[in-house]
C-alpha cells in the first residue's frame, strides 16, 4: 500500500516529517518497506531566471547564459534550444547530484567557458520520461524557490498491510492509528449526505446475500466525464496508478482514501431497470457457463459461487461483483449518466473468485480482506459529492438493497489483562484513551464492555485489545524479563534418539564423511526405483516435475549429488545425510535414516592400493554403530537379501533378526545408477535410526558399568590356516572358530585369504590368528593343544580342513 505525505495530512494534523511518520508506522505495526522521497532528491534544485543568453564563442549549439540564482548571478553554459533571456527555469549548483543523468556536477570548462552550474530539463529531474529543452516555468515564480515546492513533489511511503487490517488500505485508517500513536490529530473530513433530486430509475435486487450482503447505488445524470483535475491525477500517479477519467479516478481515490471500493456504470449502456447480484450461471439449454469480458479486456467464466452483477432482468452479466466491472457497461469520455455502486461483498467468496479466475484488482484485494460494512452508504455519499464537484450532474435518491452484516460483538475486558499478558504497566485511563482513539466504544463499570468499531472485524477478544494497547504504547516499553528458573531434566534435554542423531553426525564427520542436507522430495519415477512412489506421497502442486514425490530414501538424492560433484570434477564424494524418509502420509510413517553414499575414486597414492573401499565403508559403518551403542557383536550379516536397488552380490544387511534390520550397505545396483545418470560404482549404507535398539544403559537407566576384568595373564596367539570350499563364507568360519571355546578365545582375526598354487580349484585358504586369553592360570602345552583340537574340529564341521 502506497500513499503520499500530503494525502496523509488531509487526515492527520501533524508537523512530522516523512522519516518520523515512517518510524511511527513501523513501530505501530504498519511495517514500512520503502520511503521514496522526491523532496530529498530535489533538495539542491531551485528556481532561477536567465538574464541574458549569448552565443558560445566556440560552439554553435551552446549558449552562455547569465543567470540570476539563489547563489547570485552565475555564468552557465547551456545547450538547450529554448535557453533565452527572461526564461524562468531550474538551476542546479556545482556539487548537486542530477538524478536523471546520474552524475554529480563538477566545475569544468565547456569548450573553454567555465559553467558554474546547470539549467535543468524535466527528465534530468526525473519529473518526466522525456523533455525537449530546459524547464519553462511561469514567469511569476521567485528566484531561489525550492524546486520541490514548485512541482508539488511528495514523499511516498510504501508499507506492508497485514491481512488482519484491511482498514489500513485507506489513508484515513492509517491516519487513525498514527493519531492514536500520538503523531498528530485526526481530521478526516466528515462525509455529508447529498440529497437526491429525483427517485432512482434503477433498482437493485440481491439474489445471493451470501455473496453480496448489501448493495447501494444512485444515478447521477448529466455529468461531464473528462480528464480529472491535475491534483487528482498527481495523487494517483504518485502511488503508481494511471489516471483514466474523472469518474474512474474518483472511485480509485475513494478506494485508497477510505478503503472503500466503488464501481461506476455508464447508465446508458445498462439494459432494463434493475441490477441483480447473483451467482455465476450456465445457459439453461446448452449448460454452457456464461462469459463476461471484464475491464481488463479478458474473458472470464464465473462459477456458481462467484458474485455476478447482471442487468437485462438478471440475464446479462455486466460485472464480477467486488472484483472487476464489465467492458460492456464501462464509463468513458462520452458518459453522461453514471450509476455508482457501493456494496459489500463476502470476503471469503471474493478471495475464492480471485483465486479461481486469477484476477487481482484493488477492489478484489480489499473485499477479500474485508471492507468496513458501515462504509457502504457514506462511501456512496462521498463519491456523489466528488462527482458533483468534478463532473457536475444531478443525483438521484439512493437505492439500497440488503443489509450490512452485523457489527463485531461486544465483550468484557479486564484492563488488568494488559499487564498480565505483556508485563507493561499502563493505567486504566491510558488504556481507555488508546482504545477510544482507535474507534472502540467502552462502557466502564466493574468490568469494561468493549465494542469494536465496524472496521475492526479482526478484534474478537481481550487478547486483541491487549495487542492494541501494547503496540500503541510501543513494544520498546516492554520489560525484558528473564524466564523463571525451572526444573532441568537431570539427563539432558535430548531424547536418546535425538542424542544419537547428534552422535552420528559428528562420528561420520570424524570418519571423513561430509554432511549434506537434500530435499525431502524426489521424482515419483525415482522414488519407485527405491521402493517408494506411493500415490499418497505424490504432491498435488510440486514446485517442479522432478520434485513431485516424498522420498522413500535419501539414497537417490545423495547419488545425484555425488554425480553432480563428479560432473564438476570431484569424483570422490563421501556424503551423508541424517534426515526423514517417508513410507506413507501418516506421522508414524516418517522415519529418520542415516544414509551415506561414497563414490570410490580416492586419488592414487604412492603407498600402493589402500583397503578395498567397500570394506573401508564396512569399517566406517561398524565404527558408527559402535558409537551409537548398537549391539555390534550380536548383529548378523545377511547377504543377498537387500532390495533391488542394491548390487545383488555386493551388498548385505546387518540385523538382529529377520524383522529387526539395523542397516544395509554395499554397492548400489549399476542399473539404478544408470537410471539416475550417475557413473558407478557407488557404495552406500543406510541405517534406520528408529529400528536401532536402545543402548543397554539407556534401557536400564543406570550409568554404572560392570566391573572391568583386566587379566594379569598374558594373552597368547596361535595361527591356523584352513582350506575351505569357495561357498563357505568367512563370517561362518570365524564364528565357528570363535565359538570353539567362548571362555578362552577372546578374538579371532582373519589375516590372509589365498587362492591359487597349492590350493585346489574351487577352494580357498583362510588364515586365522586366534587370541587366547587365559582366565585363571597360564595354560599348559597340553591345554593349548586341546584347545587347538577343538578349533580344528569346529572348522572341520563346516568343511574347512586344516591346511597341511
Amino acid at each position: 500500500m502506497k500513499f503520499t505525505l500530503d494525502w496523509l495530512k488531509d487526515h492527520l494534523d501533524t508537523e512530522a516529517d516523512v522519516e518520523t511518520v515512517a518510524r511511527a508506522m513501523t513501530m505501530a505495526g504498519l511495517e514500512v518497506e520503502d520511503v521514496i522521497d522526491p523532496v530529498a532528491k530535489l533538495a539542491p534544485f531551485t528556481v532561477a531566471r536567465i538574464v541574458s543568453a549569448e552565443q558560445h564563442p566556440n560552439a554553435d549549439r551552446l549558449r552562455v547564459c547569465q543567470v540570476e540564482t539563489v547563489d547570485g548571478m552565475k555564468e552557465i553554459v547551456c545547450g538547450a534550444p529554448n535557453a533565452r533571456a527572461g526564461l524562468v527555469t531550474i538551476y542546479a549548483p556545482i556539487g548537486a547530484y542530477v538524478p536523471g543523468l546520474g552524475v554529480t556536477l563538477v566545475e569544468k570548462p565547456v569548450r573553454g567557458v567555465v559553467s558554474n552550474g546547470m539549467l535543468c530539463s524535466a527528465s534530468e529531474l526525473e519529473l518526466s520520461d522525456e523533455s525537449d529543452g530546459i524547464l519553462d516555468l511561469p514567469g511569476d515564480l521567485t528566484v531561489g524557490r525550492p524546486a520541490a515546492g514548485v512541482f508539488g513533489a511528495q514523499p511516498v511511503i510504501d508499507f506492508e498491510v497485514t491481512p488482519n487490517r484491511p482498514d489500513w488500505l485507506g489513508v484515513a485508517g492509517i491516519a487513525r492509528d498514527l493519531a492514536a500513536a500520538g503523531l498528530g490529530t485526526l481530521k478526516t473530513p466528515a462525509i455529508e449526505a447529498v440529497p437526491g433530486a429525483f427517485p432512482s430509475p434503477l433498482s437493485i435486487r440481491i439474489e445471493r446475500p451470501d455473496l453480496c450482503a448489501v448493495f447501494a447505488g444512485r444515478l447521477i445524470r448529466g455529468v461531464r466525464n473528462g480528464p480529472s483535475p491535475q491534483w487528482l491525477q498527481d495523487r494517483l500517479r504518485a502511488i503508481g496508478l494511471r489516471p483514466i477519467s474523472a469518474l474512474v479516478d474518483i472511485t480509485n481515490l475513494v478506494s485508497y482514501d477510505r478503503a472503500r471500493p466503488l464501481h461506476v456504470y455508464d447508465a446508458s449502456k445498462l439494459v432494463g431497470g434493475e441490477l441483480v447480484a447473483r451467482g455465476g450461471q450456465s445457459a439453461r439449454d446448452s449448460g454452457e457457463p456464461e462469459h463476461l469480458i471484464a475491464l481488463d479486456g479478458k474473458t472470464y467464466a464465473p462459477g456458481p459461487n462467484a458474485c455476478v452483477i447482471a442487468d437485462a432482468a438478471g440475464e446479462r452479466p455486466i460485472g464480477l461483483g467486488g472484483v472487476m466491472g464489465g467492458e460492456s457497461t464501462g464509463c468513458d469520455e462520452a458518459t453522461v449518466d453514471v450509476f455508482v455502486e457501493s456494496a459489500w461483498f463476502d470476503p471469503l467468496a471474493t478471495a475464492q473468485t480471485g483465486r479461481d479466475l486469477g484476477i487481482i484488482s484493488d477492489a478484489q484485494y480489499r473485499f477479500a480482506r474485508g471492507v468496513d460494512p458501515a462504509s457502504v452508504v457514506p462511501g456512496l455519499e462521498l463519491a456523489t459529492a466528488l462527482i458533483l464537484e468534478l463532473c457536475g450532474g444531478e443525483p438521484s435518491e439512493m437505492v439500497v438493497a440488503g443489509e450490512a452484516p452485523a457489527s463485531p460483538a461486544s465483550f468484557a475486558f479486564d484492563p488488568a489483562r494488559v499487564e498480565r499478558l505483556t508485563g507493561l504497566e499502563v493505567g486504566d485511563e491510558q488504556i481507555a484513551d488508546i482504545l477510544t482513539a482507535l474507534g472502540f466504544q467502552i462502557a466502564r463499570g466493574d468490568h469494561w464492555i468493549v465494542t469494536p468499531p465496524s472496521w475492526r472485524r479482526d478484534v474478537e477478544g481481550p487478547a486483541d485489545l491487549v495487542e492494541e494497547v501494547a503496540r500503541i504504547v510501543g513494544y520498546d516499553a516492554l520489560p525484558s524479563t528473564p524466564l523463571p528458573e525451572t526444573q532441568r531434566a537431570p539427563s539432558g534435554v535430548l531424547s536418546p534418539r535425538q542424542a544419537r542423531m547428534r552422535t552420528a553426525r559428528r562420528a561420520l564427520a570424524a570418519l571423513g564423511w561430509r554432511e549434506a542436507v537434500t530435499w525431502s522430495f524426489t521424482s515419483r519415477k525415482i522414488a519407485q526405483l527405491f521402493g517408494g512412489g506411493d500415490e499418497r506421497l505424490v504432491l498435488d502442486n510440486p514446485i517442479a516435475s522432478d520434485l513431485d514425490c516424498m522420498r522413500p530414501s535419501a539414497l537417490p538424492n545423495l547419488i545425484q549429488a555425488a554425480a553432480r560433484n563428479a560432473a564438476r570434477g570431484h569424483a570422490d564424494a563421501a556424503l551423508f545425510e541424517i534426515g526423514p524418509v517417508y513410507a506413507g502420509d501418516r506421522p508414524q510413517d516418517q522415519t529418520t535414516t542415516i544414509t551415506g553414499v561414497l563414490a570410490p575414486h580416492a586419488p592414487r597414492a604412492w603407498t600402493g592400493a589402500p583397503v578395498d573401499p567397500l570394506f573401508a565403508l564396512k569399517a566406517d559403518l561398524l565404527a558408527l554403530l559402535e558409537e551409537l551403542g548398537a549391539p555390534v557383536a550380536s548383529l548378523q550379516l545377511v547377504q543377498g537379501q537387500n532390495p533391488g536397488w542394491w548390487h545383488p552380490g555386493r551388498s548385505a544387511r546387518l540385523q538382529l533378526g529377520p524383522k529387526a534390520v539395523v542397516a544395509q550397505f554395499g554397492a548400489l545396483h549399476p542399473g539404478v545408477l544408470k537410471a539416475l545418470d550417475a557413473d558407478g560404482p557407488m557404495l552406500a549404507f543406510e541405517i534406520v535410526l528408529d529400528t536401532l535398539p536402545q543402548p543397554r544403559a539407556a534401557k536400564s537407566g543406570s550409568k554404572a558399568r560392570p566391573a572391568a576384568e583386566l587379566s594379569a595373564l598374558m594373552p597368547l596367539t596361535r595361527d591356523f590356516a584352513f582350506v575351505a570350499p569357495e561357498d563357505l563364507v568367512a563370517g561362518d568360519l570365524m564364528r565357528a572358530v570363535q565359538g570353539a571355546d567362548k571362555a578362552l578365545i577372546s578374538e579371532a582375526r582373519l589375516f590372509d585369504l589365498y587362492r591359487g598354487k597349492g590350493v585346489d580349484d574351487g577352494m580357498k585358504s583362510l588364515a586365522v590368528e586366534v587370541v587366547i586369553q587365559p582366565r585363571e592360570a597360564t595354560l599348559t602345552e597340553a591345554e593349548i593343544e586341546a584347545l587347538s583340537t577343538k578349533i580344528v574340529a569346529a572348522a572341520d564341521k563346516l568343511g574347512a580342513r586344516l591346511r597341511s
Binding site: 507493561l424 561420520l508 564423511w513 561430509r514 516424498m550 553432480r564 604412492w606
Partner: protein, 370 residues
C-alpha cells in the same frame, strides 16, 4: 721386555687393528675366553709360590683389566660406528606425502541447530519433534487459520493428492508451529515415539525441523529449516518473551549485547504478535551487526493466541505463554557470512568443505558455540 709386556703389546696392537665387533669378540675369546692366553696366566697363578704370586699376581690382573678395557672400548667404538652406518643407510624421504585421509564435515545448518539447542537447553527448554507431513488441523486450523482464510495464502502450501475416500489433503508443514499443538494437546497420544506427545503445562520446548513452502528464488527454497519455541505457564508474559529472545540472540551471535527491537506484526496464532529486528549495516556489501541505521528482521513471535490454547484444551484465563519461530538456515547464513541460500541444499563438496564445521566443534557452553 718381559713376556707379559710383549703379550700386552701384541694384544693391544691386535685390538687396534680390528674392524668389526666380530673380530673384537674373537680377540676377547682368544685372550680372555676359557682357554684364552690371559685366562691361562690367571689359572697359572694357582701353582705359584706366595712370593711369586705377590710379584706376578698384580701384573697379570693388571694385564687382564687393561686388555679387557681396551676390548670393551674398541667394541663400543665399533658398535657406535656400525649404528651410525646403519642409520645413514636407513634414511628415507620424509617429504613424501602422507596417505590421503578423507576430511569430513558437519553441515552449517545442522551446526547452527546444535548451537541453538545448546543455548535453549541451558534455559530449560526440551526438544520436541513433529512430522513433516501434517494434517490441516495441526498446520492451520488449530493455529487459528480458519478454513479458506486469506492468511493461509501467505504460506504457499504444498499439498499431497487428496485422499480418494475423504478428500482430505495432507500438507507439507509450512512452519514448525504444528509441534506447538502436538505438545499442548494433553489428551492426544503421539502417533510415534519420536513425535511430541501432549503434556500438561508448564511447557518449555523448542521444535527444530524441516519446513516447506512452494517458493523458489534467490532467497527462498522449497524446503528450509525452522526452530520453534513454546513456553506455557500461569504467568509468562511478553516481557519474558523479550528477555528470552534478547538473551538468545546475544549469545547466538556471541556478543555481549545485540541491539534489537520488537515491533508489532500479525500472525494468526499469536496475539499480541511481534517481529524481532536487529540493527545492522549493509553498506559495502558486508553485513555488520549492531552498527548502522538498518534493521533486519530475524524472527516472528508473540503471545500464544487464546484460540490456539482453547484448541489444545487449555483455558486462556489460566494458562498463557509465548511462542517464536525462526529460520535456521537464514541465521546460519547471517552468523557465518554465507551469501546464498540455495547452495545449502546442493551438496557441492567444495561448498561443504568451505562452510562446513569440524566434527569436534560440537557446540557447548564451556568452549563457546563455534
Amino acid at each position: 721386555m718381559t713376556d707379559l709386556a710383549q703379550l700386552e703389546l701384541d694384544l693391544i696392537q691386535a685390538i687396534g687393528q680390528t674392524a668389526t665387533t666380530t673380530e673384537v669378540e674373537a680377540l676377547r675369546v682368544q685372550a680372555l675366553g676359557k682357554t684364552g692366553t690371559i685366562s691361562g696366566l690367571l689359572k697359572g697363578m694357582g701353582a705359584m709360590s706366595p712370593e711369586e704370586r705377590r710379584e706376578k699376581g698384580p701384573m697379570i690382573n693388571g694385564l687382564r683389566d687393561r686388555v679387557g678395557a681396551a676390548l670393551a672400548a674398541k667394541k663400543a667404538e665399533l658398535e657406535a660406528a656400525e649404528l651410525d652406518a646403519r642409520l645413514l643407510a636407513e634414511r628415507i624421504d620424509l617429504t613424501l606425502p602422507a596417505p590421503p585421509r578423507r576430511r569430513g564435515s558437519v553441515h552449517p545448518t545442522m551446526q547452527v541447530m546444535d548451537e541453538m539447542i545448546a543455548l535453549f537447553a541451558e534455559m530449560g527448554f526440551a526438544v520436541a519433534e513433529g512430522p513433516d507431513i501434517e494434517d490441516d488441523f495441526h498446520n492451520f486450523t488449530a493455529l487459528n487459520f480458519p478454513p479458506k482464510h486469506p492468511a493461509r495464502e501467505m504460506h504457499d502450501t504444498f499439498f499431497l493428492k487428496p485422499d480418494p475416500e475423504t478428500g482430505e489433503r495432507k500438507v507439507l508443514r509450512t512452519h514448525t508451529s504444528p509441534v506447538q499443538i502436538r505438545a499442548m494437546r494433553a489428551g492426544e497420544k503421539a502417533p510415534a515415539p519420536w513425535i511430541a506427545s501432549g503434556q500438561e503445562p508448564p511447557i518449555r520446548i523448542i521444535a527444530p525441523g524441516r519446513t516447506f513452502r512452494k517458493d523458489s528464488d534467490a532467497t527462498h527454497t522449497p524446503m528450509f529449516h525452522q526452530i520453534e519455541g513454546l513456553v506455557i505457564d500461569r504467568d509468562i508474559h511478553m516481557g519474558h518473551l523479550k528477555g528470552t529472545l534478547e538473551a538468545f540472540v546475544a549469545r547466538f551471535f556471541e556478543m555481549d549485547q545485540v541491539d534489537a527491537r520488537f515491533r508489532p506484526h500479525h500472525f494468526p496464532f499469536t496475539e499480541p504478535s511481534a517481529e524481532m529486528d536487529i540493527r545492522c549495516d549493509r553498506s559495502g556489501g558486508r553485513l555488520r551487526l549492531n552498527e548502522g541505521e538498518d534493521w533486519m528482521e530475524i524472527l516472528g513471535c508473540g503471545m500464544v493466541h487464546p484460540k490456539v490454547l482453547i484448541a489444545c484444551g487449555l483455558d486462556p484465563d489460566e494458562w498463557q505463554g509465548f511462542a517464536f519461530g525462526m529460520g535456521v538456515d537464514r541465521l546460519a547464513m547471517l552468523k557465518y557470512g554465507i551469501p546464498d541460500l540455495r547452495p545449502m541444499f546442493d551438496a557441492d563438496t567444495r561448498w561443504l568443505a568451505h562452510y562446513g564445521f569440524s566434527a569436534f566443534a560440537a557446540p557447548n557452553l564451556a568452549t563457546g558455540l563455534s
